[in-house]
Amino acid sequence: MRTLILKSASSYLLPVLLLFSVFILLRGHYLPGGGFVGGLVAAIAFVLDAFSNGLDKTKVVLKVHPGFLMPLGLLIAFLSGITPILFSDLPLMTGLWADDPIPVIGALGSALFFDLGVYLVVIGASLTIIFTISESA
């Protein structure tokens, strides 16, 4: 499957798709999108890269094993959930919102961090499964 076209396309597709996945993640609160879909898109981007350039090269791009993204994501989601208890004395998972919107990202709230956690877990889990299976081939 290492065709020249796919190979040259993938080096542009990977950053574009990753950017797109972040875009989907961020717009999720107002428009269709969100952490889950965003994570899947990012995972697809890496899988595509692995198909065209080989798994080893993708691993170099990733730097760490995708498995590490899972606990990281879970931790972020969890922390965003308990922040209200720790700082504002509100029940678990209460949405907290910054007063002023930030350029590009928009209004910043704890829900975004929760979604970021979901995003990371989805990338980590799908890549772990796919990489493990293709390595055992």
Binding site: Y30, G33, F36, V37, L74, G81, A111, A125, I133
Partner: protein, 768 residues
């Protein structure tokens, strides 16, 4: 009191880290633990004998009504003193008996674990905490029976004992839950006030049977008695402590404790009297056929437990007082006899009664202890055994119509127990000393002083029965008997029927002792009856169950994914089909349906082609690709019905699924042979009916009146509360965020599972 209970647990925990120091000479010091507890409980004696009940409670799980509440009344104090008193002597004895054993520290750990659990059991006022301590005693008994873990025999006996007492524990839990439900509290002392409600409730019989089951398994009543002779595989101190003096009396304790609460009708008396009588006589007869000293003692213990159940069944004040005194009597003589047997075994290396004789010449103090123990056991004056035996006859003689029958049964049992006691306590020391034993010498005083002390106590209490009366009998009668009347314990009652019966018992017991010699031939003769013994039957039941479960497992666990899927789908079809068709009405208003558009029609065609191609293609890869078409068509459908979120997710998931499938299938060989037509038809029927059923189900759901309250709430508040305009996402990350949290955790577990399974295989392959 919490500290008193916890002390044993703490000590065994302490031994885990510093056990090596306790294997040597320091081992003796560990007996300070039970001894200090004994003194502690003794200090409560004046208050308790005045009829006071000391109560302490510590909150544990208050929301379930489960607290660590401890009461110290006469009954609890009797058991607490017995546990710590016999415990101190056994701890002392062990330090010499298992001297320099490499696991001595472990042994002490188990023993003190047991002691703490047993104390917790008898002090608990809360049925739930009592259950927990109850189970802990079973578990520590398991460890102690299997202490010689390099012997297959010990391991098996330990498992049998754990199995039987474990089942009993579950029964107790069941009984406790039901009782708590009826009475509205788990506190036994509070249940007393609702005893009439309990007796009238519809689950009274069930509660009774559950509690009986627990007590009978723990206290080795017929037909569950057989674990106790097996438990004799444990080192002798364990047999002394757990399997004669304390743990096996936990069932008796439970019955005693429940007497004021449950003693409501004839069933209580009838069952207990019958089971007790069968047990006491059945195992007393068994004594005749035993030649192993510990075997004799095991069966006489079961018989004594039978007597106790029998007395509690009679349930009059006289019977309960007799039971309370007999508990003390039995603890004193049986523990001494066990310890004496341990000494004999330790010195001569055998417990075979036909080999042992004349040991008094070399083990004089032991012989004295054995002789007194036999006197107590036989109920010869002036020992406490005599007082106890008289009380038993007094109780049976005054039990209504069947007094004669019950008295005869009690006398028969007592004669056989007399025989058993003399066999174990006197026979090894009488006659001519065999040559091979002439070089024996007396072991360390740590071993022979404990039994001697206990037997002397038996005589002292016999001469001054007032001690037992004020300390134990009266406080117990005051709390456990509902219409309490004052009474007095006496050694000498004057010439009356009871005295005559006592004389008959002792005479016939002596006759039996001189006439009947234990022989191996008798033991082999009775072994032929083992085929119909409860032990064999129950063990066969358990192996049968094992075979059945193997068959059952092999039938369902074939290892083929298709079989699992077919089973699950078939089961769902049956279940759903039954539910749907037992109450089915399909009303679709065809007029409200919109026209089919050209887009929908083309997607439907695409779907259909995809499905048919998947089913009929001969290549795996093509099938996967076709499945991908089906999935993508679905995401288009979602898009048409204005669910862009779903469409996006479906699209990405489908892409990844196809990639995954390809990765897995890539490694499989090309289709070698497809399944034959018959199986294909079977699978086809299964899947089509499942699909039809799900369709019907969905149509049915659509026909139900909608409850839009929830969706309206989400729609209204998504922006107000969560600052989001995409309701789906707001639900995911905010309204139902904890669900999402758990879902991503599941995702992680799945990924870790795949990773672990495949990497494990990789590594084993690398090794080759």
């Amino acid at each position: 009191m919490l500290a008193a209970v916890l002390l044993g647990f703490l000590f065994s925990l302490f031994l885990v880290f510093s056990g090596t120091y306790f294997r040597g000479k320091l081992a003796v010091l560990s007996s300070l633990i039970p001894l200090s507890l004994f003194v502690y409980f003794l200090s409560y004696l004046p208050e308790v004998s005045n009829g006071e009940v000391i109560y302490q409670s510590y909150e544990w799980i208050p929301s379930f009504g489960v607290n660590l509440s401890f009461t110290l009344d006469g009954l609890a104090l009797l058991f607490a003193l017995m546990i710590t008193g016999v415990g101190s002597l056994v701890f002392l004895y062990t330090s010499a008996y298992l001297k320099d054993h490499k696991y001595l520290d472990r042994f002490y750990g188990y023993l003190s674990l047991f002691m703490a659990a047993m104390l917790g059991l008898v002090l608990s006022d809360n049925l739930m905490s009592m259950f927990i301590f109850w189970e802990l005693t079973s578990i520590s008994s398991f460890y102690l029976i299997g202490f010689n873990n390099d012997k297959a025999d010990s391991r098996k006996s330990a498992l049998v004992a754990l199995g039987i007492t474990g089942i009993g524990g579950l029964l107790l839990l069941g009984g406790a839950v039901l009782l708590g439900d009826v009475a509205g509290t788990y506190r036994i002392s509070e249940m007393l006030s609702s005893r009439e409600a309990i007796a009238d409730s519809s689950s009274y019989l069930l509660i009774l049977l559950l509690i009986f089951g627990a007590a009978f398994t723990k206290s080795a009543q017929f037909p569950f008695h057989f674990w106790l002779p097996g438990a004799m595989k444990a080192p002798t101190p364990v047999s002394t402590y757990l399997h004669s003096a304390t743990m096996v009396k936990a069932g008796i304790y439970l019955l005693f404790r429940m007497t004021p609460v449950l003693n409501g009708g004839d069933i209580w008396h009838t069952i207990l009297i019958i089971v007790g009588a069968v047990t006491m006589l059945y195992s007393a007869i068994h004594i005749i056929f035993r030649t192993d000293l510990k075997g004799i003692l095991a069966y006489s213990t079961i018989s004594a437990l039978g007597i106790l159940v029998f007395l509690i069944g009679i349930g009059t004040q006289a019977a309960l007082v007799a039971a309370a005194v007999f508990i003390v009597v039995h603890a004193l003589y049986k523990a001494s006899l066990f310890l004496i047997t341990g000494i004999i075994d330790h010195e001569t290396g055998t417990r075979d009664i036909t080999q042992l004789a004349g040991l008094r010449k070399v083990l004089m103090p032991v012989a004295i202890a054995g002789f007194i123990a036999a006197l107590i056991s036989g109920g010869v004056p002036p020992t406490l055994g005599f007082v106890g035996k008289d009380l038993i006859y007094e109780a049976t003689l005054h039990y209504g119509g069947s007094a004669v029958l019950l008295t005869v049964l009690a006398i028969l049992t007592k004669i056989l127990l007399f025989y058993g006691g003399f066999l174990a306590g006197v026979k090894p020391f009488m006659g001519k000393l065999p040559e091979k034993y002439s070089k024996l010498h007396l072991p360390s005083p740590l071993m022979w002083v404990p039994p001697l002390l206990m037997t002397i106590a038996g005589i002292v209490f016999g001469i001054f029965p007032g001690l037992i009366e004020t300390a134990i009998a009266k406080p117990i009668a005051m709390t456990q008997v509902i219409d309490y009347e004052s009474f007095h314990l006496k050694l000498w009652h004057g010439f009356n029927t009871v005295l005559g019966l006592s004389a008959i018992t002792i005479t016939l017991g002596l006759v039996l002792y001189f006439a009947l010699k234990p022989k191996h031939s008798l033991e082999t003769a009775i072994a032929k009856l083992d085929v119909i013994a409860p032990k064999t039957l129950l063990l066969q039941l358990s192996t049968g169950f094992e075979k059945f479960s193997t068959l059952w497992t092999n039938f369902f666990q074939t290892g083929y994914l298709r079989h699992y899927l077919s089973t699950i789908v078939a089961f769902l079809i049956v279940l759903l089909g039954f539910l749907l068709f037992s109450d089915f009405s399909l009303n679709i208003d065809f007029n409200t349906l919109t026209e089919l558009t050209i887009y929908e029609l083309s997607i439907l065609t695409m779907l259909l082609i995809g499905v048919l191609y998947t089913v009929f293609t001969k290549s795996r890869l093509a099938a996967v690709a076709a499945l991908g078409v089906v999935g993508l068509s679905f995401s288009l459908l979602f898009l048409f019905y204005s669910a862009p979120d779903l469409a996006m997710t479906q699209f990405s998931v489908d892409t990844l699924t196809v990639i995954l499938f390809v990765l897995v299938l890539y490694k499989l060989p090309k289709y070698l042979n497809l399944s034959d037509t018959k199986i294909r038809i079977k699978h086809g029927v299964l899947s089509i009916s499942f699909g039809v059923l799900i369709t019907l189900l969905i149509l049915r759901v659509l026909g139900e009146p909608k409850n839009a309250e929830v969706s309206e709430y989400y729609a209204e508040n998504a922006y107000k509360l969560a600052h989001g305009k995409n309701i789906v996402n707001v639900i995911l990350v905010d309204f139902r965020g904890i669900d999402t949290m758990i879902e991503i955790s599941v995702l992680i577990v799945a990924a870790l599972g795949v990773f672990g399974l495949l990497k494990l295989r990789l590594k084993t392959r690398d090794k080759k």
